[in-house]
Amino acid sequence: MALINVAAREIHCKIVYYGPGMSGKTSNLQYIHNQVPKEAKGELLSIATETERTLFFDFLPLDLGKVRGFQTRFHLYTVPGQVLYERTRVAVLNGADGVVFVADSQRHKLEENIRSLRELAVNITKQNKKFQEFPVVLQYNKRDVPGALPTATLDKYLNTLGWQRYEATATNGSGVFDTLKAISKLVISKL
């Protein structure tokens, strides 16, 4: 749920990057953190294991500056993707205004993508929100990997609700901002 503080003239929105382990959620945030101008971003906070796998979440506050007199902030989070951390994902999703589902385009990851997307639907529904109406943007990441599944195949299994979807290679930044723009606008349209 977005928070609008009329006294401080601030609007806050929470966007969560969801998806299976190693699909590139943290890479998305790292790229955004590197590219956004200094005055518009806070520190990228990562709670990770020693091997740099996300343990709890990554957090990146973005400050869009004043829009019509309102200081507007987007808070970006990632969830830990590994199956083990299901309950942690529920915790991070709490109060999200929109979700980017980062799918891994590699052939052998298809089943994990499907399972993770199903879990997302269950978790959103548990928050008493209708999944069909919830703002979601789909990102097919790792398009640069040889033998990546055709987008038509990914659409067939993952995009049954007809979300906006973007192809991406988060490590070099391709498609990262297209995805962020799409989810930001979608969240704003639902405020």
Partner: protein, 164 residues
């Protein structure tokens, strides 16, 4: 519009009431810092040491801790943990849930007794529950804030800022 996706708008007069409540809690307990957060981790308002620069990250982490404790509660077949206490060498943190929506957090040092913090925080959460109820009921301010011109300006800003 889906009511579940409705934004929460905290009007000016309610922010004033909240601030008074937080100031009172800080003064009466001798606490260093008091924060009111939404459960999504966003800071509604904060009182105390003005030099603190890290409240955005603090808000995200505290809300994360609370959300995580809620999942632990479920595993233990508890409804939820309404209060959390974290003890440090110099500073302690006491966190209390307000209904299921807001989180009140007080940071205090060794000079303050935890018992006093618990009692006064309970009183503050009762007062803030009433404010939360009023905030939930009020709807009218949204159109004043979020007209179509706001959304258009917002989209322009997004295009300008989010690019390679």
């Amino acid at each position: 519009m889906d009511p579940q996706l409705t934004s929460q708008i905290v009007p000016i007069e309610e922010v004033k009431v909240i601030e008074e409540c937080l100031v009172r809690l800080a003064e009466d307990t001798g606490g260093n810092y008091v924060l009111l957060l939404d459960k999504s981790g966003q800071v509604i308002t904060a009182q105390g040491d003005a030099a603190r620069q890290d409240i955005t990250a603090l808000g995200a982490l505290i809300a994360g801790t609370f959300a995580s404790s809620r999942e632990v509660a479920k595993l233990l077949r508890e409804k939820d943990f309404r209060q959390l206490f974290t003890q440090g060498v110099r500073e302690n943190i006491f966190i209390a849930l307000i209904e299921d929506q807001w989180i009140l957090c007080i940071i205090f040092n060794k000079g303050t007794h935890i018992g006093l913090v618990k009692v006064l925080t309970k009183k503050a959460t009762d007062d803030l529950s009433v404010v939360l109820e009023r905030v939930r009921e009020q709807q009218k301010a949204r159109d004043d804030v979020l007209g179509s011109s706001f959304r258009t300006s917002m989209e322009d800003t997004i295009d300008l800022l989010f690019r390679d």
